[in-house]
């Protein structure tokens, strides 16, 4: 069995809790697709839900709002990992729910 739990937790702990050029609050907002202000909220939203639609202008606008290249790098990584994490957690929750029903005692007829 492959086991990514430890490595995945280490990645999330690193990007959300380690040193960076963005604040921990900014990385958390990007991770949770909860960036508060435009135009960067548009970039984060697109990374999370329609990454194919991210444009050159989205990146330029985020930089023109005052973010450095390193800061854009960090928040885009956080947005991508955050969305993948939510999907992974939702799927594992569905797996637990399906299997808890498998093991539940049958109702008497």
């Amino acid at each position: 069995m492959s086991d990514i739990r430890e490595a995945r937790e280490a990645l999330v702990a690193r990007i959300l809790g380690g040193n960076g050029t963005t604040s921990l609050t900014q990385r958390s907002e990007a991770f949770n697709n909860a960036w508060r202000t435009k135009p960067t909220s548009t970039l984060i939203e697109r990374v999370a839900t329609h990454a194919r639609k991210v444009s050159d202008e989205d990146i330029t606008a985020a930089k023109e709002s005052g973010l450095s290249e390193d800061q854009v790098f960090e928040i885009v990584v956080c947005a991508a990992v955050g969305q993948a994490t939510r999907q992974y957690d939702a799927a594992l929750a569905a797996l637990r729910e399906a299997e808890s029903n498998e093991h539940a005692p049958k109702e008497p007829r």
Binding site: M1, S2, D3, I4, A7, R8, A10, L11, R14, I15, G18, G20, L43, R46, V47, A48, T49, A51, R52, V54, D56, I59, E69, D70, V72, F73, E74, V76, V77, A79, A80, V81, Q83, A84, T85, R86, Q87, Y88, A90, A91, L92, A94, L95, E97, A98, E99, N101, E102
Partner: protein, 193 residues
Amino acid sequence: MRLKSLDNGHGVGTKALFAVIRALSRQPTPEVLKLMMYRPDFFGTHMKKITHEAMRGPSAWSIGERELMAAFVSKANDCEFCIKAHTAVAVRAYRDEAMVSAALADPAMTAINEPLRATLRMLGKLSREHTLDAIDIRAVRAAGVSHQQIVDALAVSFAFNTMNRLADAFKFVVPGPEVFDAGAKFLLTHGYR
């Protein structure tokens, strides 16, 4: 690349490594390597571990099946770079380009085993709709997929739902098929470390 630092912001040692890779492979530095080697302590070092474990760690799924899953997730996310990269690896692993192409186009109409077909369907839904419910899982279990096989497939999904977003957000240059074929040969031999 949309960030110049991902193209040329690496340290001297990493740039030297890229030069060696270009000389030996006679191909440009792979875009994914540029990402993984940029400030690797922040992202790349951890992501390589995750991806290698998901794609090459012990599993009831074969390497070819996991590469097909990676390509299928990438297709659901419409990530051209990753579709081409992992289709090339799956084709090399299966040695059957027609089957891989057919499975990516429509698993329901392809001669693959039912557990893989049901798992691809599940991964496609998770990537497109961003969630699953117990009914989706029961359908996969009913197709003969074990608990651990679902967990392993979700690990592949996590890796590529992350990488697809980064490839598109940072705008990886999509090279020609000879570059993807060289990359596929490397990934089958060395994995993702």
